[in-house]
């Protein structure tokens, strides 16, 4: 392979290609330095520097064996770092090293073109880590640079200055934007992945998990990262009703609550009162197969399933920003006709643990007239006795965690209260389960969206009462009503929760609101653009969405229209200039002669033509000669009277 390489065709062309390629490669690789293992970007940078040394200081090129060794080491290194070749991180690392490998031997148009294509792919992988506004802004000049590099790689010999070629590529990129925009809006978006998703391993994903154990939600409360944003299409329900349902947890093993096996998935009739609440949610990736919905969702978006527990499930984990609409009822009843054997699932407890809690529950059961009374007793206990709502509840250990919490520490976060409450209810023979999700959300005055953050993560419970079905009970509200009515900051005035700083300094809070609103707009209109928004766009255009043929037709027509436009612009730029008045008159003179059989051939100059005509028609010789001479003067010497010329042509009668 290396033996047949042409001996450096033209060194200055190669240098131009190398420099531009390196510039584009550096611009596209730089953001990866933030999340890839340092040795990867460093290795590529060292190879690039060496290549510059080859060009400028005559350092030796890499031998074939060096390249092979490097290739093998690159694979080994990536595998040692990521333990896989699959997924964006290992993939990006391999791409960057591959670019380095190609850089070692790049020579000629084909090699550098391939390098630039690899550069573009490295560029797009940036977006698999980060789709925020700053990165998007960064990518604009980066793409411009790549376009200019492409131009210089293809034609390093046009002698254009870098500025001229940058202008040319800018012009081409700008005319590419309408096509890009139409494709973005109309290209059919299909929901869900095409093949298995392997996601970047985010070092610290904060968000709900599918189970709940002591500490899991209080840890979330430390984060003010945004979980999702809500836009209510009609009036927003009050804060105390804004329970965002995620998952129902049925099984308890003494420490952790889990959803358990879903045994019954029958239909349930939701009897609702009042008008439904319609809203749109922009969900940040939660890496779960769950969409959040206001308690209690009646209808979810397409391609989702509403379980018998009123969880909104999607077939694939939410790994990108997702926009969806749903409607819910805040005044509802459900689970009235649930079979008795199904209820038994929500009455099971692990045997042998927490004897004191069981004892307490039994005593309530003995004294209560109705199950509702037992619920009241439990809430009363939380309210009256010195239970504390805190982010630092201390560690529970040992087999009897519920006992320890109820009778010893008596301080906990929402998961402790929900867990203990469901335990007590089950021990008293009342079906109960834990619901996890979010509670609250703050309205951003800038754009009117409600922002729900990770710190709003919450756990509450539902108990089943005959004649009422499943009833939501939030034991945390009994301990500290402010949590539900006013939010975490109000409930925990002394503790260092993330929003504290913003509440203490209102102007910083306003800045944050503005930035949030900007990000929200970005999320709403660009990142979350998918089947949902696309169908809305089509509806706005008066078309039904979902007919593939129609989608493709609309796309083709739009592209065709734009291409037509581009063609017109180019045609306009390249059109021949209009003939001047003198030229038009001369052409008329030629037409008059052509009418009597003396057509001027395309290659015939005016003087040759005049000579030929004079030869064939001596009677015309004088006027033809004077007209031609005058024309030559007017056109090439810029002297003479154009009006006199026009009169002569007009009077000419062959």
């Amino acid at each position: 392979m290396n033996a047949v390489l042409p001996a450096n065709p033209e060194p200055h062309l190669e240098r131009t290609r190398l420099l531009w390629t390196l510039a584009a490669l550096a611009a596209m690789t730089l953001p990866h330095a933030l999340h890839l293992a340092p040795w990867i970007v460093l290795t590529a940078a060292l190879i690039a520097l060496w290549r510059l040394g080859v060009v400028y200081f005559g350092w030796p090129l890499f031998s074939r064996y060096t390249r092979i060794a490097f290739g093998v080491l690159a694979f080994v290194g990536v595998y040692a770092t990521y333990h896989t070749f699959n997924g964006p991180q290992a993939g990006t690392a391999l791409l960057i090293l591959l670019a380095g490998l190609k850089l070692m031997e790049a020579r000629g148009l084909r090699d550098y073109f391939l390098l630039l294509v690899i550069t573009l792919i490295i560029g797009i992988t940036n977006f698999f880590y980060d789709q925020t506004i700053p990165l998007a802004i960064y990518m604009v000049p980066a793409v411009w640079l790549a376009g200019t590099a492409l131009l210089n790689i293809a034609h390093p010999d046009t002698g254009q200055s870098p500025l001229t070629s940058a202008k040319t590529s800018a012009r081409l990129l700008l005319s590419a934007l309408p096509v890009a925009l139409v494709l973005f809006l109309l290209f059919p978006r299909i929901p869900g992945p095409l093949w298995s998703l392997t996601l970047p391993q985010h070092s610290a994903v904060t968000g709900l998990s599918t189970s709940m154990s002591p500490g899991s939600l209080s840890r979330l409360a430390q984060s003010d990262a945004i979980a999702f944003r809500v836009k209510f299409l009609n009036a927003a329900p009050p804060r105390a009703q804004r329970y965002w349902r995620a998952l129902v947890l049925h099984d308890y093993d003494g420490q952790t609550w889990t959803p358990g096996n879903i045994m019954w998935d029958g239909s349930d009739t939701l009897s609702a009162r009042g008008a439904p609440v319609n809203y749109q949610i922009t969900l940040q990736p939660n890496h779960l197969r769950v969409l959040y919905a206001l308690d209690l969702p009646a209808q979810g978006p397409a391609n989702t399933r509403l379980t018998a527990d009123y969880e909104l499930l999607t077939p694939h984990p939410v790994t990108e920003l997702r926009l969806y609409s749903a409607s819910s009822y805040t005044d509802y009843r459900y689970g009235l006709d649930i079979p008795a054997w199904e209820l038994r699932r929500d009455m099971r407890l692990p045997s042998g643990i927490d004897p004191r809690a069981r004892q307490l529950a039994q005593s309530w059961r003995a004294s209560a007239a109705a199950p509702g009374q037992i619920v009241e007793d439990a809430l009363h206990m939380f309210h009256q006795q010195p239970f504390r709502y805190t982010l630092q509840p201390g560690v529970l250990s040992g087999p009897n965690r519920i006992d320890e919490f109820l009778f010893v520490t008596r301080s906990g976060f929402c998961e402790h209260y929900a867990s203990a409450f469901v335990f007590l209810m089950r021990a008293a023979g009342i079906p109960a389960h834990v619901v996890i999700g979010y509670q609250g959300g703050t309205r951003n005055p800038v754009d009117g969206y409600y922002t729900v953050r990770q710190e709003d993560a919450h756990a509450w419970t539902e108990v089943w009462l005959a004649g009422q079905g499943w009833v939501r009970v939030d034991p945390t509200a009994a301990v500290d009503p402010a949590r539900v009515d006013q939010g975490l900051a109000a409930a925990l005035p002394g503790e260092a929760i993330p929003g504290y700083f913003f509440n203490a300094h209102p102007w910083v809070g306003q800045l944050r609101n503005a930035w949030d609103a900007l990000n929200n707009g970005w999320n709403q209109w660009i990142l979350a653009y998918g089947p949902e928004l696309q169908s809305r766009l089509f509806a706005g255009l008066g078309m039904t969405y979902g007919n593939w043929l129609q989608l493709v037709l609309v796309l083709l027509v739009a592209i065709g229209a734009i291409l037509m436009l581009v063609w017109l612009v180019l045609w306009w730029r390249h059109r021949a200039p209009r003939p001047s008045g003198v030229q038009r008159d001369y052409l008329r003179f030629c037409r008059k002669l052509a009418n009597c059989g003396l057509t001027r051939s395309a290659s015939e100059g005016p003087l040759d033509y005049a000579q030929r005509v004079s030869h064939v028609r001596p009677d015309l010789a004088v006027s033809v000669r004077s007209i031609s001479a005058l024309y030559m003067n007017l056109r090439y010497a810029d002297s003479g009277d154009a009006r006199a010329f026009a009169r002569l042509v007009h009077a000419f009668r062959p």
């Binding site: 293809a154 081409l172 660009i526």
Partner: protein, 327 residues
């Protein structure tokens, strides 16, 4: 086998284009009817990379990924149009092509005019039969001349054949080209033989090769300058007096009847004979001799000068070739 199928298909395409376009005159304007465009090898690679990036964006439902892919796809579209527009409207005019000797490279002179309002970059011209390409830029409203090279193998008329005007500007993603069928031809003289025998002896009354060498000294009279006369023989003093260029004529050269005769060449192969005659013509001209040329069925009277030389060479070039009388 694939190569032959491909050649066959290519030939069909060329024939189709030729029938479709017809014969061109001396001046051609490249309009959209005669401009063809296809992706280059790089263009296909770029397209495949875009497809890969599109699939990745679909898989991850990545909006910014979509956006980048679509911007790059838009760039591909505009590159296609820019590449086409880079040729469209270009005007090509045939120039005068100097004659060459067989074995040399003929140069077909073409004048290009860019009537448009932007520079046309990296326009390449080549003969479809040749393997060399000339490339250059033409600024808006400007014009330029190029010499399209083509190897001249045999004597006679060398036709350029199909002229290919092409460009892959701006990104080398697309190649747009136009086929021009102008009647362009260069006269190819026979290749002068390197091992030619010395010039034949003069036949005239004086005879003797030595007279030829003495001729220079035997100045007899003056005549008007003819193009091709050696500057050494110009009578500068007399020219200054008469205000027109005069050439000295010498007794020796002027009267020698030196015939370059087909039958005098001791060689059987006609092409070889022509080669030797060609060398003789050149030598005789270089020595400023007067000479005539005798070919079977054709005689050129004794004369001197460049025009005479060219006339002789032309006869040699076209000797017994079909269509030799054209032009």
């Amino acid at each position: 086998m694939f190569a032959s199928t491909r050649n066959f298909l290519n030939q069909r395409i060329y024939d189709w284009a030729r029938r479709r376009q017809g014969q061109d005159g001396d001046r051609v304007r490249l309009d959209h009817r005669r401009i063809y465009i296809l992706p280059t090898r790089q263009g296909w690679l770029y397209g495949m990379a875009l497809l890969f990036m599109l699939l990745a964006s679909m898989n991850y439902s990545n909006s910014m990924g979509f956006m980048l892919v679509f911007v790059l796809a838009g760039l591909d579209f505009t590159a296609m149009y820019a590449c086409h527009a880079n040729l469209a409207g270009l005007e090509i005019t045939a120039g005068k092509h100097p004659a060459v000797f067989a074995g040399e490279t003929a140069r077909f002179i073409l004048h290009l005019d860019n009537p448009g309002r932007s520079t046309r970059s990296a326009i390449s011209l080549s003969a479809a039969r040749g393997d060399a390409t000339v490339t250059g830029d033409i600024v808006a409203g400007g014009h330029g001349s190029v010499a399209v090279p083509l190897h001249a193998e045999h004597r006679g008329w060398l036709s350029l054949g199909r002229l290919v005007v092409e460009t892959d500007y701006p990104f080398a993603l697309f190649n747009s080209w136009s086929w021009v069928y102008m009647e362009l031809r260069v006269l190819v003289y026979p290749q002068p033989a390197d091992d030619a025998p010395p010039l034949p002896q003069p036949e005239g009354g004086h005879g003797g090769g030595e007279r030829a060498t003495r001729g220079d000294e035997d100045f007899s009279n003056l005549r008007s300058y003819r193009p091709g006369d050696s500057p050494r023989h110009i009578a500068w003093k007399a020219s200054a007096q008469t205000q027109r260029l005069l050439t000295k004529q010498f007794a020796g050269g002027g009267e020698e009847q030196r015939w370059l005769d087909w039958n005098q060449v001791a060689e059987r192969d006609p092409e070889k004979r022509l080669s030797i005659l060609c060398r003789w013509v050149l030598t005789a001209h270089a020595e400023n001799l007067n000479y005539g040329l005798r070919l079977p069925g054709k005689t050129i009277a004794i004369a001197g000068g460049a025009t005479h030389r060219d006339h002789c060479l032309e006869e040699l070039a076209l000797f017994q070739l079909p269509g030799a009388l054209a032009l």
